[in-house]
């Protein structure tokens, strides 16, 4: 694909063929532009009702339909909603917890902590959860999200108040979620899953902005805990179900890519998908809430006086109706974020009240064993990227290549030497998620910070990692 440099870190794919808008890529010169991902940006630019640009951010790589790190907003009247713009793992998301411990408190106890968390939180696949729920209760959970868990005694009100959407997308309708999706998800609440999902105990290695870090409750050497997981089988099935329903209704002939199947936002199917997607998003919020509760329970055995609070919880795979400025006018649009994070600046009503005067916390996990970052959302992001930024490092190398060249045992040893204790159900999983198969997260963060679509606040380094 042809690209043209607009300014530092901003590139354009000029409009051509069936593209309705140009593509916009926010990436540094150092990063390679993956041809297939660029093609996907151009494909998204062909979807009806797309506004301004089809966007890719610095951690962009090939996805299904949309690239990962893909963002697009659609006109509510003329536009579409696409499961391919949200992803199969609906509301794959990250929650950050802060503690009253510091790095020195846990030295010598890392192994004990990692063993305890691994025992308590089911990770990996096919292991199921000890959390039992009836179908009737699950329907309530799908409509109430994290609040459902807190009301049942699994956490505190502050937990969901410090979560995107306050841990519940109100548009959720459990009756739009299929029996198959329920069957896949009902036994998985409180489980991490595998792949890139993880649980990490970290410490604050560096503070870039003292004032905002203080607002977020973060200080140097403080221990934090990060949870990365999504809506498990339930969300995956919601995506598959609606892809099929949309294919049946609208056919696949006029699509640039079968994974870009979509429905008009105003159509019954479009509305149904959004209600089911919101229910799956709530499943993910509730899932992390239960995991948070179990972490608290378990860590108390090691540190009886520990206090664990939620800093924030952000969605990475989601569609949202939000107000943005289009051609000088405020308008509600449907923003798709696929492997991208909301990055709202100060003042927006969607940002949790305690952060509203500085902007929302943005949580960007690194790959296993590397740094994660906390950033703050900005007004600039609202101008350039529909209030969005990156979601992670982004993969550069395949799993099959990793398995051929990297051994899980060695990854574990290598991380141990760096002072990081890792526990996983499978060595193969460790090899497939080794740090070297991801882009350099530091470079990704540098780009978004320079662009100003989110600003660096703190850098976190891992001490204990639980992988699926």
């Amino acid at each position: 694909m042809k690209t043209k440099k607009i300014s530092k870190n901003i590139y354009e794919i000029p409009r051509e063929g069936k593209m309705l808008v140009p593509g916009r890529i926010f990436i540094s010169e150092k990063m390679t532009l993956e041809e297939d991902a660029l093609k996907q940006i151009a494909n998204v630019a062909q979807l009806p009702g797309i506004l301004k640009y089809s966007i890719g951010v610095a951690d962009m790589h090939v996805g299904y339909g949309f690239p990962i790190g893909g963002i697009a907003a659609f006109d509510v009247d003329k536009g579409i909603i696409s499961p391919g713009g949200v992803g199969y793992d609906i509301n794959c998301s990250v929650r950050l917890l802060k503690t009253n411990l510091t790095k020195k408190d846990i030295l010598g106890k890392k192994k004990k902590i990692v063993e305890a968390l691994f025992r308590k939180i089911p990770s990996g696949v096919g292991r199921g959860s000890k959390f039992q729920i009836t179908r009737k209760e699950l329907a309530k959970l799908l409509e109430q999200g994290a609040k459902y868990m807190v009301d049942k005694g699994y956490g505190e009100k502050q937990d969901y108040l410090h979560t995107e959407e306050e841990g519940c997308m109100k548009e959720a309708d459990a009756s739009k979620v299929s029996e198959r999706a329920i069957k896949r998800g009902i036994g998985q609440l409180g489980t991490l899953g595998a792949g890139n999902h993880f649980l990490e105990v970290q410490y604050v290695d560096k503070i870039f902005d003292e004032k905002i870090a203080k607002e977020f409750g973060l200080k140097k050497n403080q221990i934090t805990i990060m949870i990365h997981c999504g809506s498990r089988g339930l969300g995956h099935q919601v995506a598959s179900d609606y892809i099929k329903l949309m294919e049946e209704k609208y056919g696949i002939k006029n699509l640039p890519d079968r994974e870009l199947i979509n429905a008009p936002i105003k159509s019954k199917l479009g509305k149904d998908y959004f209600s089911a997607m919101a229910a799956a998003a709530n499943f993910a919020f509730a899932n992390k809430q239960l995991i948070t509760h179990w972490i608290r329970e378990e860590i108390k055995y090691i540190f009886p006086k520990i206090k664990i609070d939620v800093v924030y919880d952000v969605c990475h795979n989601i569609a949202k109706f939000e107000e943005h400025v289009v051609a000088g006018e405020k308008k509600i649009v449907c923003v798709h974020r696929k492997g991208a994070t909301r990055s709202f600046g100060a003042g927006r009503k969607e940002v949790a009240e305690i952060y509203r005067k500085v902007g929302q916390p943005v949580i960007v996990p690194g790959s296993m064993g590397t740094s994660s970052y906390i950033l703050v959302g900005t007004k600039k992001a609202e101008k350039l990227t529909w209030g969005s930024t990156v979601h992670g490092a982004g993969r550069v190398s395949s799993r099959s290549k990793a398995l051929k060249t990297i051994k899980g045992e060695e990854v574990k040893k290598r991380l141990h030497k760096k002072g990081i204790e890792v526990k996983s159900g499978s060595y193969k999983s460790l090899a497939q998620e080794a740090p070297e198969v991801y882009k350099d997260v530091d470079e990704v963060i540098k780009v978004v910070d320079e662009l100003g679509i989110s600003k660096k606040i703190a850098k976190l380094k891992p001490l204990c990692v639980v992988k699926g």
Binding site: H61, Y88, G126, R184, H236, E248, S397, S398, R399, G425
Partner: protein
């Protein structure tokens, strides 16, 4: 060769082979489970499913076929060992699929991957020089 894995940056991509449409479908299912665990799986439990599908083409049929196994995996913790019987019938664009197979409880194995979904990305099912070949990318 029943199947082989190909390079894919983020996820799992494989091609499966067979002398018949049934065989290429069966080998596609085995490839999917092999991506999660590549050792020997005991044949302890018997399962079956059947479904009918209209208008999705051969790719749509393969997508739904593989999805049946994913649903069984997530809901019952069933891990596929071997396909015993598979019947695929096509009538004016509609597919009817019936399958019987054996496997074991997933928790008895060290599973390294979570297959989230089957995708249509780069998917094909075709006949080449009298042999069937499929290609699937799994979201993991």
């Amino acid at each position: 060769m029943k199947f082989e894995f190909l390079e894919h940056t983020a996820d799992i991509k494989f091609q499966a082979f067979g002398k018949s449409l049934e065989e290429v479908f069966a080998n596609s299912a085995l490839a999917m489970f092999n991506s999660m665990f590549d050792g020997k799986v005991k044949r302890k439990k018997k399962e079956r499913f059947s479904f009918q599908l209209e208008g999705g083409g051969l790719e749509g049929a393969l997508y739904s076929f593989l999805e049946e196994f994913l649903v069984l995996f997530d809901s019952k913790g069933f891990f596929l060992g071997e396909i015993k019987k598979l019947k695929i019938e096509e009538k004016s664009g509609a597919y009817f699929i019936e399958c019987e197979f054996v496997g074991d409880k997933a928790k008895n194995y060290k599973i390294s991957l979570d297959v989230k979904a089957i995708t249509y990305s780069e998917m094909f099912v075709k006949q080449e020089k009298g042999k069937w070949i499929s290609q699937v990318v799994l979201d993991v």
